[in-house]
């Protein structure tokens, strides 16, 4: 598969009080192929949303760069790329302008990009409303008249309107009722097939990830700790953190498997990350080496890479 988006060694730092620096994302390299869904998973504060914002052009990387369709994204190439990279947010209540009718919301990316005429944009909005499974009379109504799930459908319709190739979905399901989640998930799958889309799917819900994605990238404290095909990752996680995340998924009717216990404590502050492997303070397998030397991401197989000195299953 051809590469659609390349993330090359991207870091995002924020200045904090006292001249310190929050290292939200640190030297992450990833790629997304055309038609592929890549999940970005991790705890709150792992930098997954920040990386998503960088991909959506909402946050300029401090260093490193992005490539889209083989072209490096710079100030001159971003404007054209914006119509092909869209974003869906977590909170469906904040994502839609309460004073805009649905038709204007959906057609907004077209208006901003000056695509088509007012007539053709409205026609496109009507078409998309039907595609995402909303009633046609939704067009002239306002966001407050819709439920969370319906609003998320509207947000998806807006993201689809300029015919993008990549949608950054920032925890699009986590604010929804469980019964609605599967509907929206199915909708996302459906439009992916009809529109040949790639997703960068940001989530902390591994059950949802298991349903939708092709590959999974695990972030911890802004660092990429493991990237693997979904099947490989769920069957044999290589990083101790990934293992802990998988173990933390509650399962009905099954006792929680404990591989050396779940990890303890909180994620350290990105203001002051631990030396060496950032996970060593919470890792059940940590040794002296882990606190001294940063592990580099290395391939275990064609489909799995890990940044760990002592990956699982290698001993």
């Amino acid at each position: 598969m051809s590469e659609l988006l390349g993330i090359d060694d991207v870091s995002v730092h924020f200045p904090a009080a006292g001249g310190r620096v929050v290292r939200a994302v640190e030297q992450v390299s990833l790629s997304i192929a055309a038609g592929e869904t890549l999940a970005l998973v991790g705890e709150s504060g792992s930098g997954k949303s920040t990386l998503g914002f960088a991909v959506a052009g909402l946050q300029a990387p401090t260093s490193g760069g992005l490539r889209f369709e083989g072209v490096p994204l710079t100030a001159s190439t971003w404007p054209a790329a914006r119509r092909k990279i869209q974003i869906v947010f977590q909170d469906p209540f904040g994502a839609l302008d309460p004073r805009m009718p649905i038709s204007s919301i959906i057609a907004e990316p077209l208006l901003i990009q000056r695509i088509g005429t007012a007539e053709s944009r409205r026609a496109r909005a009507a078409e998309l409303v039907a595609q995402v499974g909303l009633p046609r009379d939704a067009l002239n109504r306002y966001p407050h008249e819709f439920s969370g799930g319906q609003r998320q459908r509207i947000a998806i319709a807006r993201a689809l309107s300029p015919a993008p190739r990549l949608i950054v979905a920032d925890e699009p399901l986590s604010a929804l009722d469980v019964s609605i989640q599967s509907q929206v998930l199915n909708l996302m799958k459906e439009v992916q097939e009809t529109h040949a889309l790639s997703y960068l799917f940001i989530s902390h819900d591994l059950a949802v990830v298991n349903h939708l994605v092709d590959r999974v990238a695990v972030l911890y404290l802004g660092r990429l700790v493991e990237v693997a095909d979904r099947a490989a990752l769920f069957a044999a996680p290589a990083h101790h953190y990934t293992r802990a995340l998988l173990d933390a998924v509650p399962r009905i009717g099954r006792r929680r498997a404990r591989h050396g216990g779940t990890i303890k404590g909180e994620m350290p502050s990105p203001l002051n990350p631990p030396s060496g492997c950032v996970f060593h303070t919470r890792c059940p397998r940590a040794e002296a080496l882990c606190g001294a030397e940063v592990p580099v991401l290395r391939a275990l197989s064609d489909v799995q890479s890990v940044a760990c000195h002592f990956p699982l299953g290698s001993e």
Binding site: A56, W78, R82, R83, I87, M100, E108
Partner: protein, 306 residues
């Protein structure tokens, strides 16, 4: 919904529809239309009836209403009706213009400071604070005393009534934009980090697009409230300025200075206070309800869905 429910309608059409359904808003629009027609009727009245608003007739002081002078005469023997009309032209024009000019300056400063933030915000807000800190009365006296001929205006213009009128508009605009600027800045700060603004930014929307399409409609309510309150205040403020001796100076009438003059006569000729007072009252009420209607037009949540 209508039979065209599945055809997308423009946002301004939807706003106009909501406004039309707001009864008091529509009624206020009508009343303001009547007021404008009333004050414009001064021209035919002057032309056909030959009534001059400034000609005094000391034998006709406090004359009761007659066929020639429908509302009677004032303390200097001038026709009250024509003076109300001419005064209304000035009061309404000052009220609307000064509110709009000052309000637009305030909105622009507030939105720019709130949206861009950073150093621009610092500079604009310190400037606003400085304006607020200036004592009002000395400032007014200084502004009122500026010699327009020194600013390059012709002597004819500097001493005309038009110069006094524009002086009033400029003075009020200068002192009145600060409150709305702070209000708008605070409201903008709340909106600018919303996800829908982010989504538009991700699509490549310019700063002007964000402000016009997302920020202003979402902060329309406080802006409209502030504008409508200002109109009434400005109409009365104008009379204070006249009293201090600049702007609209007697004998040129305005509702404000007619009301002021009538205060000492309120026991002998109460009607002279009642007419301008009533007109100011109706104007302020109508503007407030018009503001209600506009808020309703901008806020889809204010409408109960049928």
């Amino acid at each position: 919904m209508s039979e065209f429910a599945d055809v997308a309608i423009g946002v301004w059409t939807l706003r106009w529809r909501r406004f039309r359904r707001h009864r008091t808003g529509m009624a206020s629009l009508f009343i303001l239309g009547v007021l404008v027609a009333f004050v414009l009727a001064a021209f035919p009245l002057q032309y056909f009836m030959g009534i001059d608003p400034d000609v005094t007739d000391l034998f006709a002081r406090f004359d009761p209403p007659s066929a020639q002078h429908l509302l009677g005469m004032d303390e200097a023997g001038r026709d009250v009706l024509i003076r109300l009309m001419i005064g209304g032209q000035i009061s309404l024009l000052v009220g609307v213009l000064a509110t709009l000019v000052g309000g637009i300056i305030g909105v622009l400063v507030g939105v720019a400071a709130g949206y861009f933030g950073g150093r621009l915000d610092g500079v604009l807000m310190r400037f606003t604070d400085g304006m607020i800190a200036l004592p009002l009365l000395p400032l007014l006296i200084v502004l009122g005393a500026i010699d327009l001929t020194k600013l390059g205006f012709s002597s004819d213009f500097a001493h005309s009534g038009a110069a006094g009128f524009w002086r009033i508009v400029v003075i009020i605009s200068i002192v009145d934009w600060t409150a709305i600027a702070r209000l708008v800045r605070a409201a903008t700060l709340q909106i600018r980090e919303r996800d829908y603004v982010r989504a538009a930014r991700a699509s490549g929307g310019s700063a002007l697009y964000m402000m016009g399409t997302h920020i202003l409609p979402n902060i329309a309510t406080p802006i409209i409230v502030s504008f409508t309150l200002t109109v009434g205040r400005v109409i009365l403020f104008e009379s204070v300025l006249s009293f201090l001796g600049f702007g609209v100076v007697p004998p040129t009438p305005s509702w404000g200075n007619m009301l002021n003059n009538a205060q000492e006569l309120v026991t002998t000729a109460p009607a002279l206070a009642v007419y301008p007072g009533l007109l100011i009252f109706v104007t302020v009420i109508a503007v407030n309800f018009l503001g209600d209607g506009l808020q309703h037009a901008f806020d889809p949540r204010s409408e109960r869905t049928p």
